[in-house]
Symmetry: C2
Subunit: 184 residues, 2 copies
Amino acid sequence: MNLSSTHQKFVIHFGEMGARWGMNRTVGQIYAVLFLSEDPLCADDLVNALGVSRSNVSMGLKELQAWQLVRLQHQPNDRREYFSTPSDMWEIVRTLVDQRKAREIDPTLTVLRELQLDGDFDSSSEYAQERIQSTTQMIELLTEWYDDMRLVDSQRLEKLLKMGAAAQKVLDFKDKVTGKGGKN
Amino acid sequence: MNLSSTHQKFVIHFGEMGARWGMNRTVGQIYAVLFLSEDPLCADDLVNALGVSRSNVSMGLKELQAWQLVRLQHQPNDRREYFSTPSDMWEIVRTLVDQRKAREIDPTLTVLRELQLDGDFDSSSEYAQERIQSTTQMIELLTEWYDDMRLVDSQRLEKLLKMGAAAQKVLDFKDKVTGKGGKN
DNA sequence: CTGTAGTTTCAGCAATTACTGAAATATACG
DNA sequence: CGTATATTTCAGTAATTGCTGAAACTACAG
């Protein structure tokens, strides 16, 4: 790696984290290099930066594309494929959450709904039924909330987040004034 | 597995998901069985339910304890250790998020802060510095928001979530009325 | 103590996942 | 076309992770 020490530490750390985030070391490192690079990079740049095989980079990039975390583009008069990461941090966060939701939450929601439709609930305990139902409801509540917040523009989102739990007080107050309003 | 078909499907699915959630199949399955069981279960109950080795169950339970997802308890006149999951769904969600935050976010925040302190930033590009800084800020914003929301009681939290993006409008309105208030 | 029931540890094996280099495929350009 | 360059696929291997049974440990009862 011919990168500065700061660069290196960052890349190595993202490699370690990549594993915990459902990718793998190389994929995490590729992402980190692209993330810190102002200009798009081609596969060979990544081979040089990371010292892994060309084919490994190819597979890694494919996976990052599946995650929609990198963008493919072309340079004029150059056949090679160049990759970059979005410059907008919110876009990156949204993609990450979307993807992990799609991989870690949505399949469960599908199964839970199936269980409640076709499940032979007679043979399963009352308690288990309740548990499955309240799990479904919890996931629905959280994902619906996220689908909703997803659409708020960055500036407002930032404001909302900074406000944090204080928002809750404003809304409590509003309830009192308007006489228990809200969607629920 | 001597469980109902609904039970079985649920357990098998959580096994598959366990892998994606940073545990592994057996750990996911153990959790699923405990989650659906009204009464606490001992290790041998889990061996019977899942058909895996006693030692595997032991290791799995150890990991679930590390995740703080199960509770150890004792029955009167029985030396065996019994395990259960909290009945409150919010408690479970909170634990899950806490744990994943601790494993997947906090270490990164630590590294990013280190990089900004001791990093030899001279040798690293301007752009990379900006990226590292805005990543730090983004993570700080999100984790501070979570730390804040964590403390809101379940009922209010549910209300807030159901309100979703609509909350934003109420707050926009409040801004206009009070003349740009809020923490920011 | 000694015996017994419960639990944990761990070495060895199994299964899965990650990585490589070589071969195959695709693409642009003369 | 043909050839040079870029990319992907894939079989084989390396590394990691998961699982088991046997042995070691623990705690309690007699």
